[in-house]
Amino acid sequence: MKDFFNYFSEIFKGVASLFRGMRVTGYYFFHPGQIVTQQYPENRKTLVMLDRFKGEVIMPHNENNEHKCTGCGICELNCPNGSIEIISKQILTDEGKKKRIIDQHIYHLDMCTFCSLCVKTCPSDALAWGQEFEHAVYDRSKLTKVLNQAGSQLMKGVE
């Protein structure tokens, strides 16, 4: 007798749980307002990416065209696939001391795996993630970028 009741209670429980699932999908079906799909090319103007989205590695510059990269080369060492090349140069400071500064911070977007190691390990927080994601180009060489802008300088106070 117990088995008999178990048999039917199992059926009812099973059907009830199936209905629970069907209620969710049925609700979605009749509420198209819940659709989360973004209509990409149309919404290009209003598209806002998430903060943690990794589009490409950038080097933020302030309004005086100053960045924070000291040219230490730690990002180059940490990049697992050699996507970063640091070219540094020697200058003489005002006090007459020799100093090594960044000449070109070369970033190969086509080799980058977006692992974020460079951004995390930079001791002076010179790197960040940009939101740009439309990277399609016809020529691969366009994906090699120089991150420090022309004529830019090291920000005051960053060593």
Binding site: I11, L18, G21, M22, V24, T25, G26, Y28, F29, P32, Q34, I35, V36, T37, Q39
Partner: protein, 362 residues
């Protein structure tokens, strides 16, 4: 030529008489067969294309997506674009395949569903062939498709295909029982296997209302079992993309693949129309005994619209199943049939017979 959207009898009869007056009876019959064949073929292709589109849209909405929306307004001609793509694809030759069987398998599948569609009453008088054993014929013919699936799996000479085909065989053998028995439950109430009689008998109320409890149970079992019979999710073990890549049609390409694809959707359409015909009255408008004016209003809607509407609702329910439930394992599949559906079904037949005997139906 009398044309009446409420009753096609005079229309089809006038075609018949017209043909018979210009040619001998034998040739008239041949011509009629060709006309019907072409008409059904066109209907088949249209419904198939539309169903593929509908499935994508329905599944997209159930998953909070938009679905096809680029080709044409609301993506309406997406499936036509897909068809053109499939037509132009290369038919890959499988070296170790059994060439003959490999080639005829898709045709068997599609012919089986084609034969079933001939026996479906679309509207009053719009019925290609009205067997007195219509239900039996439809059940028999629609299960022929599995032969094609088995042949496809075997001749591909691929282990995934073979496993998929064997699963499909086990599945059809089991669920065919439930489909047949649940239809028999309905036939007990009507007392006929002829589809036109079954529809006529529902003029004063659909069978699912007339037979109340056992009819509702039979309808639910029919829904589950026919979903399984058409190899659709959650019973799509024969394809099981994640385990068997694509199951029995993994080696097929181009238009041969399209045949399997189309046949799956047409089988869904066929089982849905049989369900609608037998349990929901087919093209018969919704009539409630004694409500004269209400019945009159319902009669204004043409039977063909009723038929399509009911079929569409059942198809929508089957899509709802597919896009809600996860796929069953093969043992769960067989447990469901042999431990639950079949005993309930057998008991249900007895219950229905008893109710008919006592006259407790409406």
């Amino acid at each position: 030529m009398a044309f009446n959207i409420y009753d096609f009898t005079s229309f089809t009869q006038s075609i018949d008489q017209g043909l018979n007056s210009v040619m001998p009876a034998f040739w008239a019959m041949i011509t009629e067969m060709v006309i019907i064949g072409v008409a059904i073929l066109a209907f088949y292709a249209l419904v198939g294309l539309f169903l593929v589109y509908a499935e994508r849209k329905v599944c997209a909405f159930m998953q909070n997506r938009v679905g096809p929306n680029r080709v044409g307004p609301y993506g309406i001609i997406q499936t036509i674009a897909d068809l053109i793509k499939l037509l132009m694809k290369e038919l890959v030759e499988i070296k170790k395949a059994d060439k003959l069987l490999f080639t005829i398998a898709p045709f068997i599948v599609i012919i089986a569903s084609f034969m079933a569609i001939a026996a479906i009453p679309f509207a009053k008088g719009l019925h290609a062939i009205d067997f007195n054993i219509g239900v039996l014929y439809v059940v028999a013919v629609s299960s022929l498709g599995v032969v094609g699936i088995l042949i496809a799996g075997w001749s591909s000479n691929n282990k995934y295909s073979l496993i998929g085909a064997m699963r499909s065989g086990a599945q059809i053998v089991s669920y065919e029982l439930s489909v047949g028995l649940s239809l028999i439950t309905a036939c007990i109430l009507v007392g006929s296997l002829q589809l036109s009689t079954i529809v006529e008998s529902q003029a004063d109320g659909w069978l699912i209302f007339k037979g109340h409890i056992p009819a509702v149970i039979a309808f639910l079992i029919y829904l589950v079992a026919s979903t399984a019979e058409t190899n659709r999710g959650p019973f799509d073990l024969a394809e099981a993309e994640s385990e068997l890549t694509a199951g029995f049609h993994v080696e097929y390409s181009g238009i041969k693949f399209a045949f399997f694809f189309l046949a799956e959707y047409m089988n869904m359409f066929i089982v849905a129309s049989i369900g609608a015909t037998i349990f929901w009255g087919g093209w018969m408008p919704l009539h409630i005994g004694g409500w004269g004016s209400f019945n009159m209003v319902m009669d204004y809607i043409p039977p063909f619209v009723w038929y399509i509407g009911k079929t569409a609702v059942i198809i929508w329910i089957m899509m709802w199943f597919k896009w809600t439930f996860p796929r069953l394992r093969i043992d769960q599949l067989l447990t469901l049939e042999w431990k639950y559906l079949l005993p309930i079904n057998l008991f249900n037949i007895l219950l229905m017979a008893f109710i008919v005997l006592m006259g407790w139906h409406f």
